[in-house]
Symmetry: C2
Subunit: 299 residues, 2 copies
């Protein structure tokens, strides 16, 4: 049982976590904090949180646990406000889509990353934002990746793990660099490609007709280009190193494929396409078996 849970940033993710924690009956009081007073007031009206304080230092005071659910670009500033306000026993976690940058922000804010700080990332979201869009079931059957550091306290890790389990999520652990590499590949790169594709077509003479004649495949392929631009700018910058690594690999492969098309080299083309189809089909099967996948933006 958490006596007082402070959630900084009560939007889709923070709000859904608050609702899920309430549903599970695992905390006595939930205090919200953040910059957007209208959101915080609405969160109280909706019963998502019990009260709020615009002053982050006050919002986290005497909390047993603090969840930072703000955009990556605001992470360091928020952690600086928290530092010095919490006791060494306070458990702190976050929900950022890139973990190396959060660890660096915590190091900058606290001097060293406190043992009570457990970096985390729920792989869940919808294309909507804000506390109005939050719901208790958001994490049901989804994965939450925790990336503890060597000095992370086992007790803090267990507490964060338990909270997420209560939301219905499956909790897995990964090291920070590995998380950032996997997410760069499966989420950050696809978002970049979708945005760049749509923007490329927009720049073409026939763009109006192009969008008019785009059908189902294009619609699915570019759905993630409807995601929040500022959030994804933050993610691209926060996970820059891992994203650049996978971008370089992708660009090299695309360059080879372009050369194969130029040369009408059907054998090379079909070998890339066949390998991709085989693994895509196998992966789809695996994922259909193990979980109910919902469209998710905040990956």
């Amino acid at each position: 049982m958490i006596n007082r849970l402070a959630i900084i940033g009560v939007g889709l993710i923070g709000g859904s976590l608050a609702r899920a924690a309430r549903r599970a009956g695992v905390c006595r009081e939930i205090v919200g904090g953040g910059r957007d007073e209208a959101q915080l007031r609405r969160a109280v009206e909706l019963g998502v949180i019990d009260r709020y304080d615009m002053d982050i230092a006050a919002a986290v005071r005497d909390a047993d646990m603090v969840v930072v659910a703000v955009p990556l670009g605001a992470m360091e500033a928020v952690l600086r406000r928290i530092a010095g306000q919490v006791s060494p026993g306070t458990v702190i976690t976050d929900v950022g889509s890139a973990k190396g940058s959060v660890v660096a922000a915590a190091r900058a804010a606290f001097g060293e990353v406190p043992p009570g700080f457990v970096p985390g990332h729920p792989i869940a979201g919808t294309e909507k934002n804000g506390v109005e869009a939050s719901f208790a079931e958001l994490f049901d059957g989804r994965r939450v990746i925790l990336t503890p550091l060597p000095n992370t306290s086992a007790q803090a890790l267990a507490t964060v793990r338990t909270l997420w389990r209560h939301t219905g999520a499956e909790v897995v652990e990964m090291d920070v660099a590995h998380h950032d590499e996997v997410l760069a590949a499966t989420s950050h790169l696809p978002h970049v490609l979708a945005y760049v594709l749509v923007d490329t077509l927009l720049g073409m003479d026939a763009s109006e007709e192009i969008f008019r004649f785009a059908a189902g495949g294009f619609r699915d392929f570019t759905r993630i280009a409807s995601s929040d631009p500022a959030m994804w700018r933050d993610i691209c910058i926060a996970n820059r190193a891992a994203l650049l690594t996978v971008l370089e690999r992708f660009r090299a492969e695309l360059s080879s494929l372009t050369a194969a098309v130029e040369a009408a080299d059907g054998e090379s083309i079909v070998s890339v396409f066949s390998r991709a189809k085989a693994v895509r089909d196998r992966y789809m099967m695996l994922n259909t078996e193990t979980r109910n996948l919902k469209p998710s933006e905040n990956e």
Copy 2:
């Protein structure tokens, strides 16, 4: 009323067209032709066609209308078999995803493209192949693009248009080069990107974990990488020029975006992402209003 309709290649598209034509009651007899006798026999059993002939020359004999629904790679060989077997009044059309290559194949096969030849492309399909997967409703509410040439007979064009209208499709006209440019952008490039992305991730050390942790966004983004590799090799080669043009534009934009990520230039990143989101949202709205989009492979 078509007295005898010959369909060369009775797979998903050819079979669905036969079923739709039957449903509409617009032809007396449907004769199948092609290389795969098992498919053709099954098509007769399913009542999709009345009879078949493995000899294409025989299959098209005395037909009022011939529909060539074979992969692009087989187009020229099939048209060569048809040439000389049909009367000047016979209407011929095809369903290929690239039109410049079909026109070139017709020119090679016939000497010049006959006035009765109307290149066409139904923007419809599913991820399945073969006559077993065919169904009469495949073209309902979908678009069919016809790309007549300056010497195309108005009567032939009207006949093909009428047939497609009877399947429930909306028929539009476009010139050959324009069709190929629009499809390269909205269909062929996205397929290439999806295949190359999946193959890139497959080549990474963490690939197993990458596919294990891929969630909803990735699933949608890469769905088209489950499409038939040989068919898409043919399309990439057949529409090589238009595909290379849009590939070059995409690669240049991706290179700029990569530089912006390297420089942590948030302003440039967010301006690309915002433009893309705005047009994607607008386009989605447009398409939701005007048609019921179904996932489609054969675009």
